[in-house]
């Protein structure tokens, strides 16, 4: 027969082992949930383009970019994207989201140029990934940037920067 103390000790050991097992099996689940949130979206080649922007523009200058790229650009270089950031008291946040979404999606060079002028931007960053300007992930329509309204100011094979002429 086991003594009372040993029964108690064994019961506690079993309970702690059970908790340890549950912790062991639950931790990977938490990591699996969190891991997608640790992505960068922007690529090293985009950061190259962002540093080119820094060397060719001034502090707070507006540069067209999507939300993820724009927030990376503001963090690394203190340049101002038209979308991205804290929209709490931004008076025209939704208009800006619409404009930047149109800028990347439109096939019309004229319309894209007009949006850049409206936003007061000389440059726009064009990544090869999909962009997000507030209304979901969208493919970039790049053919319009061959129009004479634009000139390619920077190109590293993955990302290019256009200048409005």
């Amino acid at each position: 027969m086991l003594s009372n103390e040993r029964v108690e000790l064994a019961a506690k050991a079993v309970f702690i082992a059970l908790i340890a097992f549950l912790v062991y099996s639950d931790v990977p689940k938490a990591v699996a949930i969190a891991e997608p949130w640790t992505g960068t979206v922007v690529t090293p080649k985009e950061v190259e383009a962002i540093y080119w922007i820094e060397n060719n523009t001034s502090m707070y200058e507006p540069v067209v970019y999507d939300i993820f790229g724009g927030e990376t650009m503001m963090a690394l270089t203190l340049r101002t994207p038209p979308v991205g950031g804290d929209w709490a008291v931004a008076p025209d946040a939704v208009d800006r989201m619409n404009n930047v979404t149109k800028f990347y999606e439109t096939t019309s060079a004229q319309e894209a140029a007009e949006i850049m002028r409206h936003l007061g931007a000389r440059y726009a960053v064009i990544p090869s990934r999909q962009v997000h300007a507030g209304f979901g992930w969208k493919a970039v329509e790049t053919a319009k940037f061959s129009d004479p309204l634009f000139e390619k100011a920077f190109d590293n094979g993955e990302v290019f920067v256009v200048k409005l002429k």
Binding site: V23, I33, A34, M74, D86, W87
Partner: protein, 361 residues
């Protein structure tokens, strides 16, 4: 001590995901904090105007202490803004289990403290919001410590940390003052009951009243600090006119959204903790202060997760991580109670019941 170190090591390991990429995580608008930090470092001034969001030129309504803190760290250490931001995540990773240890220990004993430290590593949403370089991560690490200081009746320290947390992150601020207010309200009900039934206040009721007074003061300081900041930056106090409220940013939270990210252990143990607190309250007349904090932490979390039911309808899903904090504490209470009641009698009863069940089948 070794077990606590193991919980901290586990938390550091899960949070080390923040170091895996060439650049810090960008989900959750991390750049909108790194930009004012860089601006502060490069200009030496913390701007009240946001020069970056949606074209810039708008008031910087975000509470400033995380940004100022990381900025000061960058200036003093010379480490880059980006690396410092990730380093602070690792500091948060260490603080989360330590804070829960203190709170759990104060609420229900050393065993509960150790369980709380380990359980703080388990909820998926709690990890999602502490693994990225965000003000919320720091504030979430401070909440258990602020509540611990209230329970300890450290007036100055708890008021100061409440103020610091409020000025670190808005949603964390809302949750913290809700828990403090909830605690004070529950004790107020007890005091009203004692008064109505003309019962004499015992030593335990007096202790709860003293803690509730502090919790109420912290709530007042917290609310006043936030409105004060909003007034300084915008010239008004109408925070309900912010886009998040006007456009109802956020999605409704369902049962699966909460339970799907908790893992296996926490829901059962939290249910046990809630049952323990209810039964002890029924037996003793009123829960102990630590148990009341655990109850308030869960109730406040549920109210904020379902805030559309109180007419706010804003950022509901973001409050799951705060509800997780209450569930972690409640589960620690449950686990500690079970461990402490696994004596010879209960063990033999359990073994006998198990044998009976096996023989029947």
């Amino acid at each position: 001590m070794l077990l606590l170190a193991a919980a901290v090591a586990l938390s550091l390991w899960t949070h080390s995901l923040v170091l895996k990429n060439f650049y810090m995580p960008t989900y959750g608008n991390t750049g909108i904090h790194a930009a004012p930090i860089r601006e502060f470092v490069e200009t030496g001034v913390y701007a009240k105007e946001d020069h970056f969001s949606y074209g810039g030129g708008i008031p910087s309504t975000y509470v400033p202490f995380y940004r100022m803190g990381v900025g000061a760290f960058v200036i003093l250490s010379g480490v880059s803004v980006e690396a410092s931001s990730r380093l602070w995540v690792m500091i948060v990773a260490a603080l989360v289990p330590l804070g829960f240890y203190l709170l759990g220990k104060k609420a229900f004993g050393t065993e509960a403290g150790l369980f709380a430290a380990f359980f703080s590593v388990l909820p998926g949403d709690l990890l999602v919001y502490t693994i990225r370089p965000l003000p919320q991560a720091l504030a979430m690490a401070l909440i258990p410590i602020a509540l611990y200081l209230v329970l300890e009746r450290k007036w100055l320290a708890s008021i100061a940390l409440t103020f610091f947390t409020i000025m670190t992150h808005q949603e964390a601020a809302l949750y913290l003052v809700a828990v403090q207010f909830g605690f004070a309200a529950l004790v107020f009900v007890e005091q009203a009951w004692l008064y109505a039934t003309k019962q004499v206040q015992g030593v335990e009721a007096k202790e709860r009243k003293d803690i509730a007074a502090l919790a109420f003061v912290c709530w007042g300081v917290g609310v006043a600090s936030y409105f004060g900041w909003h007034f300084v930056v915008t010239g008004g106090t109408d925070f309900l006119s912010m886009n998040q409220f006007v456009l109802h940013e956020g999605t409704a939270v369902g049962f699966n959204d909460v339970f799907g990210q908790l893992g296996t252990a926490l829901p059962w143990l939290a249910a046990a903790g809630a049952a323990v607190i209810a039964l002890r309250a029924a037996a003793k007349g009123w829960p102990a202060p630590g148990e009341l904090i655990a109850a308030s932490a869960v109730i406040s979390g549920i109210v904020l997760v379902k805030n559309e039911l109180i007419g706010l309808n804003v950022l509901m899903q973001r409050f799951i991580a705060f509800l997780d904090q209450g569930i972690v504490l409640m589960a620690a209470v449950g686990a500690a109670w079970i461990l402490l009641h696994l004596n010879e009698k209960s063990s033999k009863t359990a073994v006998a019941a198990l044998k009976k069940a096996v023989l029947r089948n």
